[in-house]
């Protein structure tokens, strides 16, 4: 059986450093090159970072491959390369068959055009022929459930309606190879179920599917094989269930504590370096899971090497989808009233109970210097620690007596009042 997708040693590097700005002005560029001439340098100075390196795999015809990994692990870069949106720096990939992609729904929607016009526009953007769209038009509209508004400009649609219509178009693409990125994360639960059903239908008909997702459940449910990417490299490859299990174990289990015994290799630089990060309960014990009702501490140990500037510890909490729940600076007077003195410190941020929703929370830790209008990280680590928020369902949380899923990044326990009037 020939492989539908063959990827051999694909890599992609980006330049950072001097060329960091997304787009500069011509003047900047000219000054920079004149500067280089004056200093008699031949090459511009920049660092390369590899978003993806030496990635090789094959997907047989009709195979469904899932790709998992942290944010920034290179999943989306890989899909962008396979979808020819960006070119690789090295390597080679061969795709045998018509390629369709669902990188983001609603691409090419124009708000001034009606739903009907947008179906045709979006369909051709995704590579469908006019005849094909016309023949599936009724099916698409029915799937989206916006029949009544099909001749209304989409700027009058709610965002949910736009997404549903867009997904309906994309779901009716009939390519031989389908590249999918996170589209299932849109819409309400009912619509998500329909999307999953549609995906199952597609993969059951001999289509080759490459599926990137944060939703581990859908990966193990839909895919027969999975890859895990980390920092652009393949770190795990095997049956979907196993890869997902190992991934969850690593991100969810042992991630509640991290330390850097050697200062030289610890995150940071001249100003400050991290020593350790822990997730702790009120008794000061390291914990992997916390009750949604009780508070949880993020304990950050660090060393200030070169004091004299205003430094603050800072944490950022994200949910499993990578959505930022919040950012918080240490507001204690210790850091606010005087410049930081050199020395070792341990700061603990207490996240109150009944704030985060159930599920995995990931914490990014940084020691930042206060700039004029932005914070300059002096030491920091992404995905430093993580912990599970659990609700035993004994009351005292926003769940009340309801047993189903409550969506949202946060889930505060609000004060409700009701009077009869």
């Amino acid at each position: 059986m020939t492989a539908a997708i063959t990827v051999e040693g694909i890599g992609k590097s980006y330049r950072i450093g001097q060329y960091q700005s997304a787009y500069g002005t011509l003047r900047d560029s000219i000054t920079a090159s004149v500067g280089r001439m004056v200093r008699r340098e031949h090459k511009p100075q920049y660092d390369e970072i590899w978003a993806l390196r030496d990635v090789s795999f094959e997907v047989p015809e009709g195979g469904v491959l899932g790709i998992v990994g942290h944010n920034g692990a290179g999943k989306s870069t890989l899909l962008k390369i396979l979808n020819r949106i960006t070119t690789p720096t090295e390597g080679r990939a061969t795709l045998r068959g018509r390629v369709g992609s669902l990188l983001e729904v609603g691409t090419g929607f124009h708000s001034e055009l009606t739903g009907r016009e947008n179906v045709f526009l979006n369909g051709s953007v995704l590579g469908m022929k006019r005849r094909e769209i016309a023949s599936k038009f009724d099916e698409i509209v029915e799937f989206s459930g916006v029949e009544a508004f099909i001749d209304t400009p989409v700027k009058r649609y709610s965002s949910g309606m736009q997404v549903r219509l867009a997904f309906a178009v994309a779901a009716h693409l009939e390519p031989e190879i389908l590249l999918i990125d996170e589209v299932l994360a849109v819409g309400d639960a009912e619509f998500q179920r329909r999307c999953l059903g549609r995906m199952e239908e597609l993969s059951g008909t001999g289509r080759t599917v490459l599926f990137v997702s944060h939703q581990m459940q859908s990966v193990s449910q839909l895919c027969d094989r999975a890859l895990e990417l980390e920092k652009g490299l393949i770190v795990n490859d095997g049956p979907a269930g196993e890869v997902v299990a190992r991934y969850l174990q690593r991100v969810g289990g042992s991630g509640s504590e991290i330390s850097w015994p050697e200062r030289a290799s610890a995150p940071g630089g001249k100003v400050a370096r991290l020593r350790s990060v822990r997730v702790v309960n009120e008794a000061g014990e390291t914990v992997e899971a916390v009750d949604v009702r009780s508070r949880v501490g993020i304990e950050v140990g660090f060393t200030v090497l070169d004091g004299g500037v205003n430094l603050f510890p800072k944490i950022k909490v994200l949910d499993r989808q990578g959505e930022i729940a919040f950012n918080a600076l240490d507001t204690s007077p210790h850091w606010h009233e005087q410049p930081a003195a050199s020395g070792d410190y341990v700061s603990t941020a207490w996240i109150p109970g009944n704030l985060l929703n159930e599920g995995l929370a990931t914490v990014e830790v940084a020691i930042v210097e206060l700039g004029l209008d932005k914070l300059m990280p002096r030491a920091g680590v992404r995905d430093a620690v993580s912990f599970h928020v659990q609700d035993p369902g004994e009351g005292g949380s926003a769940r009340g007596v309801f047993l189903g899923q409550l969506r949202g990044v946060v889930r505060p326990l609000l004060e409700w009042t009701t009077e009869e009037r």
């Binding site: 539908a4 694909i10 980006y14 997304a22 787009y23 500069g24 002005t25 011509l26 003047r27 560029s29 015809e61 009709g62 962008k80 390369i81 396979l82 979808n83 020819r84 949106i85 960006t86 070119t87 690789p88 720096t89 090295e90 390597g91 080679r92 990939a93 061969t94 795709l95 045998r96 068959g97 018509r98 390629v99 992609s101 990188l103 983001e104 691409t107 090419g108 124009h110 001034e112 055009l113 016009e117 045709f120 526009l121 051709s124 953007v125 995704l126 590579g127 469908m128 022929k129 006019r130 005849r131 094909e132 023949s135 599936k136 009939e174 031989e176 008909t205 001999g206 289509r207």
Partner: protein
């Protein structure tokens, strides 16, 4: 061709259906099924077969821009006529009355209006195609298609305005009793020269615009100067020969002279100067296209 895929999937046999094979024959005849992805070569070439495959998308993009252009405007499509018409009125007063500029022996209003038609087309074609990549950022960073389609759609959009504004010229012909001659049949050829030039400039500026937004500021200024070097406000033929040859390097002089030759019965353009303009247009087009192709692999990363 795709109907066959649908049919196969619908009649699911117990054995796993093979839509790939069913469609293989028809797909491969229209477009190579196998895509090979490699690092961008230094000098990519234009894949005409691929462009042909995407012709429907080109039409769809152009159609989108045309149908959106005058939405939520009070005058609507009338703008297509008002723009060149009002410019003509201003030019007639300033350059025709006060400055008494030469106008090829026809009334100044019809002289300048017949030049403004191709010029207005050219200026908006350059402007639209220059902004086409940045304006369609969502598409460029999310889906694959030959990026050339965006500036290409950009130069086709103002053709609609040109056709609309032409109706006013017909009215002016009756009013001033100035008639076209047989060279009218060549007018589309001269317009094609304007299309090629606009596309060349648009390809260049649109890709510069991706990296440096300066292009958006420089362009209106450039177009304003270009207008005065194109024989829109005065007849080129009144200039000294030497300068006429220099200005022939500007393809728009040939476009306007050639267009006026047929449409308002102006004297025939000089063959040598026209050849110079055609050559200049081709150079602009090829340079623009090559520059575009070289920058294309990085569009999605830098936009």
């Amino acid at each position: 061709m795709l109907a066959s895929i649908v049919r196969v999937t619908e009649t699911q046999a117990p054995a796993r259906p093979r839509p790939v094979e069913a469609a293989a024959e028809s797909l491969s005849s229209s477009f190579p099924r196998t895509t090979v992805i490699r690092p961008a070569p230094r000098w990519p070439h234009l894949e005409l077969l691929e462009l042909w495959h995407f012709r429907e998308l080109l039409a769809r993009l152009a159609w989108r821009d045309v149908s959106v252009k005058y939405k939520q405007t009070a005058f609507g499509v009338a703008w297509a006529i008002l723009q060149p018409f009002l410019t003509m009125v201003v030019f007639t007063f300033v350059f025709g009355r006060f400055a008494n500029f030469p106008s090829k022996g026809v009334p100044y209003p019809i002289f300048t209006y017949s030049a403004l038609l191709p010029w207005t087309y050219f200026a908006s074609a350059v402007a639209i195609s220059s902004g086409s990549l940045v304006g369609n950022k969502a598409l460029v960073t999310k889906v694959y298609f030959p990026r050339v389609l965006l500036p290409l759609a950009g130069v086709t959009v103002p053709l609609v305005d040109l056709v609309l504004a032409f109706s006013v010229l017909v009215g002016m012909m009756f009013w001033f009793e100035v008639w076209p001659n047989i060279a009218l049949v060549l007018a589309p050829v001269f317009l094609l020269l304007a299309v090629v030039t606009a596309l060349g400039v648009g390809l260049f500026t649109s890709s510069v615009n991706v990296r440096y937004r300066d292009a958006a500021y420089a362009l209106p200024f450039l177009l304003q100067i270009w207008l005065y070097l194109s024989g829109v406000v005065y007849a080129m033929s009144a200039l000294p020969q030497k300068w006429q040859w220099v200005l022939a390097l500007n393809p728009m002089t040939a476009v306007i002279n050639g267009f006026q030759w047929g449409v308002i019965g102006a004297p025939a353009p000089n063959l040598g100067k026209t050849a110079v303009s055609v050559a200049a247009a081709l150079v602009i087009f090829i340079v623009g296209l090559e520059f575009f192709r070289r920058s294309e692999p990085r569009f999605a990363d830098t936009i």
